[in-house]
Amino acid sequence: MVILLGSLQLGILYGMLALGVYITFRIMNVPDLTAEGSFTLGLALSAALTIAGHPLLGLGAALLAGAAAGCVTGLLHTKLGIHPILSGILTMSGLYSVNLLAMGNSSNLSLINSTSIFKMVGTLLPFLDKDMVKLLVALCFTALCALLLILFFKTHIGLCIRATGDNEDMVRASSIHVDNTKILALAISNAIIACTGALIAQYQSFADINSGVGILVVGLASVIIGEVLLSRRTLTGNFLAVLLGAIIYRFIIALATKYTILPAYMLKLVSACIVAFALSLPAMQKSLAMYKTRKEAQKHAAAETNF
């Protein structure tokens, strides 16, 4: 049960990360590598401020700092004409030092003895058990984040961002400032990703400088799994699909961890295989449908020659 609940908690938390990744990867059509840096940035700031006794402030600071990191990538890309992927890499590697600075030049901070948001809510609602509190907090923040994003992308500026991703030239022709919409999208995306980092730090009670390694893969896998399993035409539908994708991705990892038949060093291969299987479902459906049609056609053809 612990792993079931735990995977659900983690899935919902990383769902927020997946939303952030979705904005750049799907709406803006650019995989933004800033994510690995901004996730750790949120983690570091949140940990440092939680130790100082301000867990909520930690979330706010992460949000703002993440947005700033996104702006830097955006400015590098739009104003200085650096390739978008390279801009992300530059910001990400620069953030490494910033993150160490935020953590007071220590690569690991412990929050085990500090009061996190999860512990605060736990004392406010003493009748709930610890895991339920974690689930509730994760659900509240992710739901709030998704709701705000859904509302935002229906406003004028939100629609401008979506249009920029769809057809940049058309948007430019409508005398909308494309650079600004790009920067704004990157800022929002990284603010959300940093905020996920902030929550994860308080959830797991420690921050480590290496926590962001591979986080973009987690986000991308969640987005794609969500799309494969539940692709919708509306943005709201897509956001929900992405959240579901993140939860399923966590369950995949949990399953791969559960496997004791294979030795421990097979973990990454096992999880890669399960993800590959999930992603190949649509293609398999297609070829199955094709096979059926062909068989049907053969039957008809056979029937016709009989006459």
């Binding site: 220590s106 929050l111 085990i112 539940l230 421990a264 973990l267 990454k268």
Partner: protein, 336 residues
Amino acid sequence: MKTSMMKKILSAALCTSMFFGLTACGNNTQQQSDADGEKLKVGIVQLIDNGAFEDMRDGFIQELQDKGYGEDKVEIIYKNAQGDATNLNTICQEMVDSQVDLVATIATPASQAMVAMESDVPIVFISVSNPIGAGLLTTMEQPDKNATGTSNAIPIEDIFALSDDLTPGMQTYGLLYCTNEVNSVTTIENAKNYLDEKGLQYVEQIVTNSSEVQQAAQALVGNVDAIFVPNDSVIQAAMPLVAEVARDAKIPIYGSSAVMVNSGAFATVAITDTEIGMISADMAIAHFEGKEMAEIPALVVPANAIVVNEDTAEALGVTLSDEQKADITFVRDSAN
């Protein structure tokens, strides 16, 4: 229409199979432990693969076997996050879920993730350089978070004293380390304090990943008389490279673990990683034999073995007196 319907059915099927996959496995393990009766389950959690961690794990398991907790009595459940910190939480949840009798966690992040679970599973941490700072316990003598274990303080003074003994007259030390790890940064702080006290010079070279190690080592050549490397897994992994650069430049490298000396560093004063694992296993055994975790004090394991790499000594042209040789364990470059 048809495909979207099928997609729905397939996704529903996938979700339910995963759900049952997880719960079913949980039930299985429970039944197994019931059937086996007294067989203990011991989990081992590790964040990443490296030589030192493997030695600690082997030492831990070996000591359990030697003290009568062999495969017939103990089931070892070993999990490795393979460098992905997001997997660490899931692994710890899985440990609680499969109701292990004890978890051994190797190094700081894995130990923190397990302690933060606040479960009733007893934890023995292996080789955490600063357990109090990491929040694993409040005092070393009386563990208060159901976790006890070993800390591997690096004997800075002994290592520099060894340097004075084996290669006298070193004025400037190069400090080569990676900022990724709290262990190495703490050790470097201590080393700098020591060198400042003695009025010796130092030059720092910092790397952030293994691709930068060679250039960092080359940057030290010509500016330093000797190199000191803390307990840093990034530099340790690239030690053959660093050793080659240093041998060519006739600079001795003083390392912080025997593994480093095995892969080409000149010398160190260290406890072997296998021994840290063994001492941690003794704590686990004390718990199995009835002691509460709070009654098993956490230990800073003292280092006392001087290890010297003979191949490096030859390359550097260092000759040792018989008196010096008496205390030294000699090794040669290991094949891997």
